[in-house]
Amino acid sequence: MITVENVTVSYPDKTLALRQVSFTVKEGQSLALVGPNGAGKSTLLLALVGVLLPQQGTITIDGLKVAKESLPEIRRRVGMVFQNPDDQLFMPMIYDDLAFGPRNMGFSEEKVRALVEDTLERLQISHLKKRSSLKLSGGEKRMAAIGTVLTMNPSVIVLDEPSSFLDPKARRNLIGLLGRIKQTKIIATHDLDLALEACDQAVILNKGMVAASGSPQELFFDEGLMEACQLEALKRR
């Protein structure tokens, strides 16, 4: 369970990025974080993994408060997939990228190999094992980036704009994959269709504050609310 309580985060230049943000996510649920550019979605994700620490309020992951002293354990529990897969894939081969986390966790090479092979198979990207990330398509890079987090088997996965850089087919594969991932997920996205299909809860952020929360079906078709939050409501088909 994730609890975010009255969280306020500001950047070193005093820009207030999040103001009094609160919500909870139960175990196994998927939460969509939506909002216009600059609403604070990515900041909130960085706060969840302790890259940014709140000036006020608390974030707890399965009862453990996100704080400087708990960061190693928090990062074992929460895996983050960055918006740009090129930031996540920095090793010479995809195999090494997927093995990076488990190796840092101190696992033996046999265990690391088993974890990587299993993840590659789950993501259906075993053929990319020995390839460099520089030569992959956007969809392949995205799958590999998610794989780097899955090999560490975290209880929570946060994804920043997972459908950016993807063509329709790769996006469809991603939605299928998100449905198969059993961990608790927080997905920051502009892609309301993806959020509608892959998430059972949504929080709309606007100017660093929670503008609304509820089910995606309730929120995303509400034209007045979406317009007030500088978003485009979905049309009922």
């Binding site: 920095f90 010479p92 081969m93």
Partner: protein
């Protein structure tokens, strides 16, 4: 390349690291005008390249990346060191040229040695070997970061150069008047990108303070490799082939 199965790839990483460090130390210990005595030092890298099935062309090309830095460092030798080292007929070769070429040769041999190590050993295994040698963690971090960010820098530079080339009039490289802002932007962009990569590394448990529990023992084959590399290099260091060259010179008409 680092995961092939050749006699060199199968060697113990600690031994490969020690052999490489030892070889580089012997190379840099040559005097500033020791161009000819250094020639036999190409023996070890050539044999290792062949045994590890590393493509010669690729390695030499990558090595060439280090040359501009050596040129910058050694160019002053040509101007400041003007003594005569050798006279071939009416042509006299200055000591400056000799020291400049020696510097280039040393750099080339050292870079080839490091590239061969990286080409035959996965990077995390080299880091572990460095940890076992009790090399300070700051140095290991610097080594890992340099390895990772070099690629990032090149990637950013090629993306920027492509964007520039597509909108420039002549489409022939970067004009000198734009070079300052190009390099400045490149550094700023790479800094941002490096920051995000570092975050991604930290979120996946970096830096790990522990060594792999499955460390294997050093075998007699590993020891033999170390003795052969360092032994032959020390012999070449002690053996000055300048005398042999002089004899050949005298025998020639």
């Amino acid at each position: 390349m680092a995961v092939r199965d050749t006699p060199i790839h199968r060697l113990h990483p600690l031994i490969k690291l020690l052999a490489s460090l030892g070889f580089i130390l012997i190379v840099v210990s040559f005097g500033r005008y020791s161009l000819i005595p250094m020639i036999p030092m190409v023996f070890c890298p050539t044999v290792v390249m062949a045994l590890s099935e590393t493509p010669y062309g690729l390695l030499l090309k990558r090595c060439a990346l280090a040359l501009p830095f050596c040129l910058l460092a050694g160019i002053s030798n040509l101007v400041l060191d003007t003594g005569t080292a050798l006279t071939l007929g009416s042509l006299s070769i200055s000591t400056g040229l000799f020291s400049f070429l020696t510097l280039l040769f040393k750099a080339y041999l050292s870079v080839i040695t490091v590239l061969l190590l990286v080409a035959t050993t996965p990077i995390h295994v080299i880091s572990e070997a460095m940890q076992r040698l009790k090399i300070p963690s700051l140095m290991i971090t610097l080594f890992e970061m340099t390895y990772r960010y070099l690629g990032t820098l090149l990637e950013e530079a090629s993306a920027m150069a492509l964007a520039y080339g597509l909108r420039s009039r002549q489409q022939k490289g970067i004009e000198l008047r734009h070079m300052g802002s190009f390099v400045g932007q490149l550094l700023l962009r790479s800094f941002d990108r490096a920051e995000r990569i570092y975050q991604a590394m930290k979120l996946r448990g970096y830096p790990a303070a522990h060594l792999s529990p499955t460390e294997r023992k050093v075998s007699s084959r590993d020891i033999l490799y170390l003795v052969l590399v360092l032994g032959s290099s020390l012999i070449f260091r002690a053996l000055d082939i300048t005398g042999a060259v002089n004899i050949i010179e005298r025998l020639l008409p």
